[in-house]
Amino acid sequence: MTFMWALYAREVKRFRKLMLDTVFSPIVSMVLYLTVFGVVVSAKSIGDISFLAFIYTGLLAMIMVNSGFSNPGFALIIAKNLGSILDLQVTPLRPWQIGIAYSLAALTRGLFTLSVALALTVWFIPGMTIAHPLSLLAIVLITGLQYGMLGVTFGIWAKGFEALTFGTTFVMQPMIFLAGVFYPVGQLPAPWNLISQFNPIHHTVNLFRYSFVGYADTAPLISWAAVLGCSTLFFGLMQWMTLRKLAESLQ
């Protein structure tokens, strides 16, 4: 296990060394979103909760998804560009160990960023409590790992920074913004409300919100089924990609 933990520790060390970019940058974005969308439109409420609490919980989910995806995605693409991907190929690490180590590092970064974000911004929402703590713990852990696995798959697949920009700008960002972070998807006109149900990030956002403040756009059971299904799919994709690609030249 030393093999895998050493890689995990290296990847955690990497994001800790670049905290301004990896931890504080998403928090600054979150505060800006809260200020612009939340404080300015704070009069409105959605169901029993304030609009501010609505987007706050969505933004926390967004941080977790982004941190999970970016950590292995960027690390692997940088490694390919530098040539240090060779470190993974010459050492006796199995492809599955590489995938798990990077995913766990992604979860660690997500947990760290989420904790700092909560500590710094929770005062935005007076009287904030956690409606379903066990559900929250589960969705936080699953999200970090799930999007970490997707980040590993993407990082191994992508040939360079352009592909990564494509992934973040044209795939992840639209999926995040159309996931119901800033609006309830149930209020969307047809067929967009139905299409949103096929966006896996919507179910993550929905469960974050349900766990924190008890509000859900989509029935939590449906969202749990979607999240667990996607996790299995992303795990399978990561296994397939690491096995297929890591034994071949990645450069």
């Binding site: 030393t2 093999f3 050493a6 060390k13 060394k17 006796p92």
Partner: protein, 305 residues
């Protein structure tokens, strides 16, 4: 026992619509334990592809032969084979975020070296490579030569029995080259088998007992360095004339400002040369074939004896 055995290994790159390129073509190598062994070949000969297959970064073509490091098959016994091998790649690769110590600490962990052992080995290794005072410096702040030594440290941190250096002296200054040679000799004296690829034939002459020349993915010559030199020795008298536009002796050919005469009997042919050119002969020398010439003859299909 052989440190490295390559038997009928092939690697084909397929990138349609271009035709498949066979970078390594049914190649076999047997490198004995305890040697410093040279692997020579021009650019594109297949050296780096072969090394990538040996270190596990590239899979050989299916249904081809085998590659074994101290009898551990690199495909079927990957973990054991990788533990026995240290590799210094051609390019200098430095992780910008980490210090010299961190680079070695995490990398050795990925070989399963226990933490306490890592803490002990890193300063010792850095000391032996002249990097002791750089332990806590950022790896990217090192000079080119120091980065090269850090790459060597990475390859040695898990104490491999076989070390492969892929053109370790390309682009380094004379003093660093001497230092790397010295290090290679030291490691070899301590029992490590060393294989290195190079363009500098002087290195093969200086360091290696044996060598293999490969071209277009195939072995074109292998054996003791001295024997290959002797085999290709051309027995040539090179000479200069004061007045070159004259009638020449049969068999003389012009090479730049000089002339060359292949000989069978040095004394008799030298006498013939003196008699023919007389006072017009400015200088002469008997030249042994350099490895450079052997290399060019082998790889460019030049004349062979």
């Amino acid at each position: 026992m052989h440190a490295l055995t390559v038997e009928n290994a092939s690697k084909t790159y397929k990138s349609p619509p271009r035709p498949p390129l066979k970078a390594v073509d049914n190649l076999s190598l047997h490198i004995p334990e305890g040697q410093i062994y040279g692997l020579l070949g021009p650019n594109g000969a297949g050296k780096s592809t072969l090394i990538s297959m040996i270190c596990g970064a590239l899979k050989p073509d299916p249904e081809t032969g085998s590659i074994r490091i101290f009898d551990k098959d690199v495909v079927r016994q990957t973990d054991q084979a990788k533990q026995l091998l240290g590799i210094v790649p051609q390019e200098i690769i430095v992780e910008p975020a980490f210090t010299v110590e961190e680079v070695l600490y995490y990398f050795s962990g990925m070989y399963g070296v226990p933490q306490a052992e890592r803490r002990k080995r890193i300063p010792e290794l850095l000391e032996s490579l002249g990097l002791a005072d750089k332990q806590h410096d950022k790896a990217r702040s090192l000079s080119g030569g120091m980065k090269r030594r850090l790459m060597i440290a990475k390859a040695l941190i898990h104490k491999p029995r076989l070390l492969i250096l892929d053109e370790p002296t390309a682009g380094v200054d004379v003093s660093l080259r001497q230092r790397i040679w010295e290090l290679v000799r030291q490691l070899n004296a301590q029992g490590t088998t060393v294989i290195f690829t190079t363009h500098y034939l002087e290195e093969a002459e200086q360091l290696c007992e044996s060598m293999t020349v490969i071209n277009k993915g195939k072995v074109i010559k292998e054996g003791k360095v001295k024997e290959i030199q002797q085999e290709f020795s051309q027995n040539i008298i090179s000479f200069e004339l004061y007045q070159s536009e004259v009638e020449h002796l049969a068999g003389v050919r012009r090479v730049g400002v000089e002339f060359e005469l292949p000989f069978r009997d040095l004394v008799q042919d030298m006498r013939g040369l003196l008699d023919f050119y007389g006072d017009n002969l400015k200088s002469f020398r008997n030249e042994a074939a350099s490895l450079e010439k052997v290399f060019l003859q082998l790889t460019e299909g030049g004349p062979t004896p």
